[in-house]
């Protein structure tokens, strides 16, 4: 301390070792420390502390930080499409459109249409019955003719005898 113009308390040795002191301040502090054992000891202790702290090594990061272009940030295509169009208004419009379509395809028919459908069904049924009857009569006639032919042959044979 002797031989200097300032007392030890005026020297900020922490600022000195941390590199926060300007060049003139550093030169003045170094000149003081050269003559002051107490300040040299303080300086040495601080440097030793910082050296010890510097032995703590940086660690490698265990896994890399997910980049902004990675999958976790990127929704899949269907998610993006869904998000692009989905909204409460869109949902309401979908419900209304569905109801209109169901009504269009499943609504009840009018009376005229029902009448026409009944008439068509009756006509078809009558035609089927008539066709069946005609076929039955035809079969009976053919059977009758065949039996007459047989009887005629039998009678003719008896007559010739």
């Amino acid at each position: 301390m002797s031989g200097t113009s300032m007392g030890c308390e005026n020297y900020d040795w922490k600022s000195y070792v941390l590199g926060e002191m300007n060049s003139p301040g550093r030169r003045e502090a170094e000149a003081h420390a050269a003559l002051c054992p107490n300040c040299r000891e303080e300086l040495a202790t601080l440097r030793l502390t910082l050296d010890t702290l510097s032995t703590l090594r940086e660690e490698e990061i265990p896994r890399r930080i997910a980049f902004v272009s990675d999958q976790i940030f990127e929704p899949r295509w269907y998610s993006r499409a869904f998000r692009a169009v989905w909204s409460p208004n869109f949902a309401a419009a979908c419900v209304i459109a569905g109801a209109i379509l169901v009504h269009a395809f499943a609504r009840p028919a009018s009376n005229d249409q029902i009448q026409a459908q009944v008439e068509a069904a009756v006509t078809k049924a009558v035609a089927n019955v008539e066709a069946e009857n005609a076929e039955h009569i035809d079969r009976v006639v053919r059977s009758y003719d065949s039996r007459n032919s047989d009887i005629y042959k039998e009678v003719s044979g008896l007559v010739r005898q």
Partner: protein, 187 residues
């Protein structure tokens, strides 16, 4: 170092214009520093990883708000500091150590033997845990990340005088916790 800064500046400018790859490169450059800062501050590896992820996500989202490109490092560490302290407040508000803790019983080298590098490293880790969160944060930003006092004030959101006070108190505590053991080891 200047070349690196110019490159970072260019990457930041590109990322601000929406270039994702440029931001990815920034992440790869800064992730280790941010992770180690958070690891020492939070003293938990998984928390440090999770918060690191949050930091870069927030950085990407808020990059257009960055005022000056040359302040990217401080801005990034400010996000990290805020996220870390948010987690610390949520997780362990009741366990924060009071400042001015008595260190007489926790000096790491009572035996007087020379410490191996691994032991020294463990002693430093133990000593850092003796500091309160604010003091440890100041030490990490100054000694391990090399920020200036005014940059630290911006990161921590407090006056330079507060930064110096926290750091000087922390150094006194660390000096007491570490210097005797090292001196005994060398004697």
């Amino acid at each position: 170092m200047i070349f690196r800064e110019v490159e970072d500046r260019d990457l930041i400018a590109k990322a601000r214009r929406g270039d994702v790859e440029a931001f990815n490169l920034l992440v790869s450059r800064w992730e280790r520093r941010i992770f180690n800062y958070l690891l020492r501050l939070l003293a938990n590896r998984e928390d440090a990883l999770d918060v690191s992820q949050e930091v870069f996500l927030k950085a990407y989202q808020n990059l257009p708000k960055l005022d000056a490109v040359e302040k990217f490092a401080g801005w990034l560490f400010r996000i990290a500091h805020n996220e870390a302290f948010s987690l610390l407040r949520r997780k362990r508000p009741e366990t924060e150590l009071p400042p001015g803790l008595d260190l007489s019983g926790v000096r790491p080298a009572e035996t007087g033997a020379r410490l191996l590098p691994l032991e020294l490293s463990l002693a430093v880790e133990s000593a850092l845990k003796l500091l309160n969160d604010d003091q440890r944060d100041a030490v990490l930003l100054k000694i391990y990340q090399g920020f200036k006092f005014d940059e630290m004030a911006e990161i921590l959101g407090c006056p330079v005088s507060t930064v110096k006070s926290r750091l000087y108190t922390a150094l006194e505590l660390l000096k007491a916790a570490l210097a005797p053991s090292v001196l005994r080891g060398e004697s």
